[in-house]
Symmetry: C2
Subunit: 378 residues, 2 copies
């Protein structure tokens, strides 16, 4: 099967023989610094775990965050992710890593009223500027940690920086009930009334009500199946209904403390499994989650990519064909989603140049180990 | 951390530096030949898929089954599985593969009245004998494809061969309702009344009723989370209740046509995720599924293993420590279950000798490709 993917332009010729070429994957929601907390007391009761996490996180300063982000960036490249959307407190560090490793990063300061007053956050956010592989986004942690006034402020900056707001929405029952009790409205309903919903990438959405789905038309929602299952937040992200209502559905791994992997291939499979189990229905297919992790992800980040096609940006992944046998035309999508893991990735190309090749694997793995050693006392 | 795992006996010394040593994993339910049908029309509606599968399977003769089983055996070794329980129609082929690859295989003929009369199956089953790595088991497909008379026959052979019956039980609502309508009893209730339940390894069990759990005390049940989620059979395997009632809970991948991976590390993680999502509860921990896939698996197959401990059989796996960072004592179990995949496996030892080492990886991967080429017209 040979397809024309564009006219020859210039540069090096890459031999893809023995490989399977596909679009790079977009991890639409993660917290890169949290790789350093991977596995930390993560089988305790949710509230116990959270209090341990917050305690630890209070001692994590910027240089440590950057160590965690570097670990996550390497792990994402190793497993075929070419772009990611991050929520944490070290966007400048992430900008440096994006340029160093040639991975597309979308990160920003995070508004969270119980952590820091919104004016200081605003000032730092305004100083962020884009670079080749980095673009600022505005993070608002959630409706239960940020006031509507803060959200207003965030929306103004998002507009002036021509970017979007990345926000946890309707993740838990507790959140939905508390917002409803306080305001008389459901979270998405409330966000719709602020007039800012079109700026918002709404993450998790396990507890969105049916009547709210229509407000999401033309907007972006992100599904994080593994993390929500592991934390037993329950709920059911309405993938089919969102898709049919014209919502741009994307997929994210969430942070390594709650997943604990950052492998988008595994995440795609888990997304199908969760949907099928929740709805007793086979409607969600491998092709849907592949589209959500490629085409839809690129739509979210505003880059014309996500497909191996003439005119699209060359953010590509080459997989070892022996990881996805039998290699038959009608089984490729099934194999990509249900069989492959990120370990099949041989080469990652971002913007037409190689960001990772399997010949760099040992170096990358050793670098991860060195980084973990730097924070081993944490 | 150094522990005494026994006195020095004899043989070669293996340098495990840089690795993490753990017990080998038991895949308690699979259909090895089905690797050749991996990805085949697997996103169709369940009944459409099944009719395509049956059509294809009718053309799969013994030599083709053995090709599929060899692929699966190699994949299982590559991902740290040291023993597996198989249901299909080529036990003699599997016996040969078990000896060739040094993996513990438990397979037998399969009673399935709509496929073949039970007398012919019985004759072939009686001719099966154990070898170093192979032991016959008796497969009864299910209560809806085998009569109670057939089950009687199977039980007699199982007793005379000092083995057990491996059987799909209460996998779908349809199955439970049809048995209840026909006999007035639920499947496990019915099996209990036959007097043979103590011989049965009951697989799937997503639709077992609460009152049946007590009958399972001291018996073995096998959870196949991925396959049941992918096929949207729904139901909820009552892991906690079975565990607390003294059931020996084990885990299996099911066949590659319905999973589509045979990686027990991925299966352990999915088991926790499914349990937590189904029950909105964090009770099932990484340690439970690790125990289910090691200690409990070895208990099922009647071999004193599943632990790195003095006196236990040396069925062991060595993992690349860089796949499970941060490597801290309190995070090892979390990392094994939530982070690692089979790709972290460097060495597999069965019965004290090496069955797979990462230096054989290319040879193994190429062998899989050669095998798929042999059946490429299927």
């Amino acid at each position: 099967m040979v397809m024309d993917v564009g006219d020859y332009q210039s540069g090096d010729v890459l031999d893809c023989k023995g490989g399977v070429l596909m679009s790079g994957l977009v991890n639409a929601h993660t917290h890169t610094p949290m790789s350093i907390l991977r596995g930390y007391k993560d089988d305790l009761d949710l509230h116990q775990w959270l209090s341990f996490m917050w305690e630890k996180e209070a001692s994590i300063y910027n240089d440590i965050m950057n160590v965690g982000s570097e670990i996550s960036v390497i792990e994402m490249l190793l497993s075929g992710t070419t772009a990611f959307v991050d929520m944490y407190f070290n966007p400048s560090g992430i900008k440096g890593l994006a340029e160093k490793y040639r991975i597309r990063a979308f990160a920003g300061e995070t508004f969270m009223d119980n952590r820091e007053d919104s004016e200081s956050v605003k000032r730092r956010q305004e100083s962020l500027s884009p670079s080749t592989f980095f673009k600022p986004i505005v993070n608002v942690h959630s409706l239960y940690t940020a006031s509507l006034e803060t959200l207003h402020k965030a929306a103004q900056i998002a507009k002036s920086q021509k970017t979007w707001i990345h926000m946890h929405v309707s993740e838990t029952r507790q959140e939905v009930y508390s917002i409803k009790r306080k305001t008389g409205k459901f979270p998405v309903e409330l966000l719709n009334e602020t007039g800012f919903l079109n700026l918002i990438q709404a993450v998790h959405m396990g507890w969105i009500t049916n009547q709210e789905i229509s407000y999401m038309k033309g907007k972006t929602s992100t599904h994080c199946p593994t993390s929500n299952m592991k934390l037993a937040t329950a709920g059911s992200f309405p993938f089919k209904e969102m898709h049919e209502s014209g919502v741009n559905v994307t997929i994210g791994t969430d942070g390594a403390a709650s997943n604990n992997s950052l492998d988008m291939f595994r995440e795609m499979k888990t997304a199908v499994l969760l949907q099928r189990h929740s709805y007793w229905d086979l409607w969600v297919k491998a092709s849907h989650v592949l589209e959500a992790s490629t085409v839809n992800g690129y739509k979210l980040i505003g880059i014309n990519g996500g497909e191996v096609k003439k005119g699209k940006v060359a953010d590509l992944v080459i997989l070892d064909r022996r990881s996805m046998l039998p290699l038959k035309e009608d089984r490729i999508v099934s194999n990509l989603v249900y069989n492959v893991t990120g370990n099949a990735v041989k080469t990652v190309i971002v913007g037409g140049e190689i960001s990772y090749d399997v010949s760099m694997k040992e170096t990358f793995l050793n670098r991860i180990e060195t980084l973990y050693n730097e924070v081993k006392d944490l």
